[in-house]
């Protein structure tokens, strides 16, 4: 038992150090303002990994979010996973993961950022695959790693293009250069960044890895797939926003991606029969909200929602872990009626669901409000999105709000109310240990605490509230009406078959091509040396046939040879 706390202590130390570093920065002025040293040279230097640590207020918030959730997850895990034989590697990888996150957020050096980015990807891979005995965990881990890594190539190229364009690999330096010499290559940079964040944040069309990553231990899901790693995509998009802010193409593409993803994710979440998977789709949908804000030209709203979402989604996932701990499954069918047996979990998670649905006064409401406001505001502005696009985006966002409220309510109802399922003994639904409840409470408090000082936009706020209330009401009404809320619309439960290219087409293609290549390598490419050897062997045999010891044949060879040479010589001459 005590050995487990070593890792908690390590994490706490890391969190403390990061906090000491980050907290004073929260009050600095400016949002990624151009401060610090740097300058454009003739060409980009070779990459280096000098840490170049520097925090802006937003980065400081993200760092605090990451280490905070990380520490809570670490504490939570002592109870949740403490008896696992591989707890040690698990806890260490979490710490490594946090270091990677801090590197991404806390540096101005793009290479350090990339290293941290990929270290997070690797840790995510290892943690999803923590239960590597099971086929789902293996498949999910492989898929997550592959998809994100392919997308990361976009970031790699984006960094190269930034370096080429501005002559430095320092973000601040590049910003200074862009302010002096003007922004260039913005479309290229933006699209490449978009590829990277679409992969990392599981946006359409690369969304499918995130739900499949759910075989990972639930605390990890809370940490990686809610609070930090997927959020890093949003963070990066916001961080590099100045480099592509003037490219309508990029912003429109981002808006389209965000619009599709948010609605799709919410709809998928609505029909899930598995709580954890539903929360995963919810994450996808919420991330799309943040991208919508960025696409609308207000990355600050996006990052704000990132922080708030990080908190309440972590709360939800950890709560989900408590439920799983209690009933041994994450299927909604196994839950139900847990309100009484798990009161602490119930209340904290209720707060989480409220924040997800956007109920005042949770932080979820305020940040969602800011996002909607940002979208609304950007309509009609010069540059950025076209007005039509903006309104479509706004419409989609509102519809999504409605669906979000609906599925949040549905999940809440199905998990905590209703009849106890037949198979479950009542005593199984016991409350989780304190080490697990504690983090939930902290996060629940934070869900309210963070709303302090959040702006409120009257018009859109009222509209949003009404829509959310509508969503809640519809579900509650239908529940009252006796519905089991088992909505199994076929195309939606099948997730529109969007997964198929990743799970069957791509592997089948790779397998087919690789089989062909292996065969070709053996029977095709290798033909020329083998043919050469064969020809040499045959010629050798033919030469032996000539060596018959028959003098006359030799004389004939000589005579014919002379004749050939003479004829050739005469022709040449």
């Amino acid at each position: 038992m005590s050995r487990r706390w070593i890792y908690v202590a390590l994490t706490a130390a890391l969190a403390t150090a990061a906090s000491i570093w980050a907290v004073p920065r929260l009050d600095e002025p400016g949002w990624f303002a151009y401060v610090g040293q740097g300058g454009a040279g003739d060409g980009p230097p070779l990459p280096s990994l000098s840490p170049d640590l520097f925090l802006y207020p937003v980065s400081a918030q993200v760092v605090l979010l990451a280490v905070g959730v990380g520490l809570l997850v670490q504490i939570y895990s002592t109870a949740y996973l403490g008896h696992h034989p591989r707890y040690r590697s698990y806890a260490l990888i979490i710490i490594l993961f946090l270091v990677g996150m801090i590197a991404v957020v806390g540096t101005t050096n793009l290479w350090v950022l990339l290293v941290g980015w990929e270290v997070m990807g690797l840790c995510s891979y290892l943690l999803i695959g923590h239960e590597w005995q099971t086929a789902e965990a293996r498949a999910g881990a492989a898929k997550a790693f592959l998809v994100t890594r392919v997308a990361d190539l976009g970031l790699l190229l984006a960094i190269l293009v930034i370096g080429e364009t501005y002559g430095t690999y320092d973000i601040v330096g590049a910003q200074i250069a862009s302010s002096q010499d003007g922004v260039a290559s913005s479309t290229a940079i933006g699209l490449l960044v978009l590829v990277a964040v679409v992969g990392k944040s599981a946006q359409f069309p690369l969304q499918t890895w995130l739900p499949d990553a759910m075989p990972g231990p639930t605390p990890i899901t809370a940490l990686i797939h809610a609070a930090t790693m997927v959020a890093a995509g949003v963070y990066l998009a916001a961080r590099l926003f100045p480099f592509y802010a003037d490219s309508t193409v990029v912003l429109t593409a981002m808006a389209v991606v965000a619009g599709i993803t948010m609605l799709m994710g919410a709809l998928f979440a609505l029909v899930q029969t598995d709580l954890k998977r539903a929360l995963a789709w919810s994450t996808v949908s919420q991330l799309a909200f943040m991208f919508a804000a960025i696409a609308a030209g207000d990355p600050e709203a996006g990052t704000d929602h990132l922080i708030s979402h990080g908190v309440f989604k972590a709360l939800l996932f950890l709560g989900c872990g408590c439920l799983m701990h209690a009933v041994g499954s994450s299927a909604l069918a196994a839950m139900g009626g847990l309100r009484r047996s798990m009161p602490a979990t119930f209340w904290t998670m209720s707060i989480g669901f409220a924040a997800l649905a956007g109920v005042i006064p949770t932080v979820g409401f305020f940040t969602k409000d800011s996002v909607l406001h940002a979208i609304e505001q950007s309509a009609g502005e010069d540059g950025g999105l076209a007005t039509g696009t903006t309104y479509v985006l706004l419409g989609v966002a509102l519809v999504t709000s409605f669906v979000t409220a609906a599925y949040a309510t549905r999940l809440w109802l199905r998990a905590f109310f209703g009849p106890v399922p037949d198979g479950r003994q009542e005593h199984h639904g016991h409350e989780a240990p304190r080490a697990m409840i504690g983090p939930l409470v902290v996060l629940a408090v934070a869900t309210f605490a963070l709303s302090i000082g959040q702006p409120f936009h009257l018009g859109i706020g009222v509209v949003g509230t009404v829509i959310a209330a509508g969503g809640i009401a519809v579900v509650v009404w239908s529940w009252r009406g006796g519905s089991t809320l088992e909505w199994t619309t076929r195309p939606l439960t099948a997730e529109l078959g969007l997964d198929r290219p990743f799970t069957s087409w791509a592997p089948a293609f790779a397998r087919g091509v690789s089989r062909t290549v292996v065969d070709l390598d053996r029977d095709g490419v290798d033909v020329y040396p083998r043919a050469g050897a064969g020809v040499a062997g045959l010629t050798s045999r033919a030469l032996e046939l000539v060596q018959t010891r028959n003098v006359q044949r030799y004389a004939t060879v000589i005579a014919v040879g002379v004749l050939v040479l003479v004829v050739a010589a005469v022709i040449w001459t």
Partner: protein, 467 residues
Amino acid sequence: MNIPIDWSLVAPAVIVMVGALVALLVDAFYPRRTWLGSGLPSTGALVVAGVLAHVHRDDIGRLSFALVAIILVGSLFVVVASNIMNFETAMPPGEFHFLLMSAAAGAVLMVVARDLVTLVISLELLSLPSIALVGLRQGDKVAIRSAWTFFLASVVSTAITLMGISLLYGVTGSLDYVEIREALASPEVPQSVVAVAVVLTLVGLLFKLGAVPFHVWIPDTYVGTSVMVAGFLSAVSKAAALGALLILVNVAFPYAYGTWQPLLAVVAAVTMTIGNIGALRQSDAIGLLAWSSIAQAGFLIAPSVALLTTEGLTAPVQYLAVYALANLVAFAALSVVLRLRGSTRIDELKGMVRTDPWMGIPLVFAALTLAGFPPAVIGLVTKYVVIRPVVDSDHVWLAVVMGVNVMLGLAYYLRLVVTLCDQPDGEPYVSPSPPVSVRIAKTTVLLGTAGLIALSAWPDLLLRHLP
């Protein structure tokens, strides 16, 4: 008519010839026909001839002197190493040494010849004793058959060469190299006849070199005769033919380069390729070396495409020196193997480096030299040397063919080398305390290897001083 004779040129050949006669006479009048009895005068004559040649080296010319030196050293090597045969009653020592020395005299004469009459005579002086040498072992059916093969192929090509010479005479009106060159310089000579004449004239020399398609006699002859005679044919006889070819073409045919340059290039390319491919399937070390010597002939001929430059003349001679030494070492070592083990099949050589390092390592080193592979640096350097003039005369394709043939050659040299280094099968062969003759042969092998190693360590030794 007073014909002037340049004695300084002819002296080495005459001394060698005298040595041949003395060897024969000693053998005839000394009742116990021992190997040493006729061998010692031969050795002495070769040494004296060498000294004489060195004294007159300025008259002879650097190139010819280098060739004479190679021939004399090679003959000396063969004479000394041939002691290995002293136990063979079927091998009459007097005749052996007489024929060997006569052939050597012919070889020396060939490279100092400056007119076609001398060339023809010296060629025959080399050929006829060689043929007799091949068939000398009495009662040996294989040997006599080989001699017959060699004889017929030889006389046919001699006849063709003579035909070429007669045509050349008909075109130029002279048999003197320099006069031929001057006559060919005139644009009035019928070019096609000149082409035919040049080609036919070169046939005899290419035949002696073993170039394709005149190589057919080589495998049968080398395998059929005694090992050291094969060594003599592969080293000394080729040296003489190559020297004669270089000098003849360089002095007499410079204006007919349009004929011989493509001819030699193609012949070289085909020769090295056929030779290497032929060697691939040999199971007998002698047969392997026979085919390899065909391939090496290709490498010897190749740089002659640049014969009219200094480097085109010196490169083949430098290659020849190393090739001859390595080949003689290999043949001498194999003659020892044959004497001790009764077979030269490659399988028999398995593990020799471990069981008999003093014979195994020289064989390995010789094979690596022939392959042109480090640690036998000299083999590699001489390969470089012969490729240089080829490239310099814009025959890059030929250079590439040479490169590919280095690879082909390695395929079988490697087989020889790894068999030698391999784990021996069964009981290691323990030779009874070897007789003096074997020790002498072994000593020559080791001396030759020492020479190769010295050259590998310091290639300048060769490249600077020869020719």
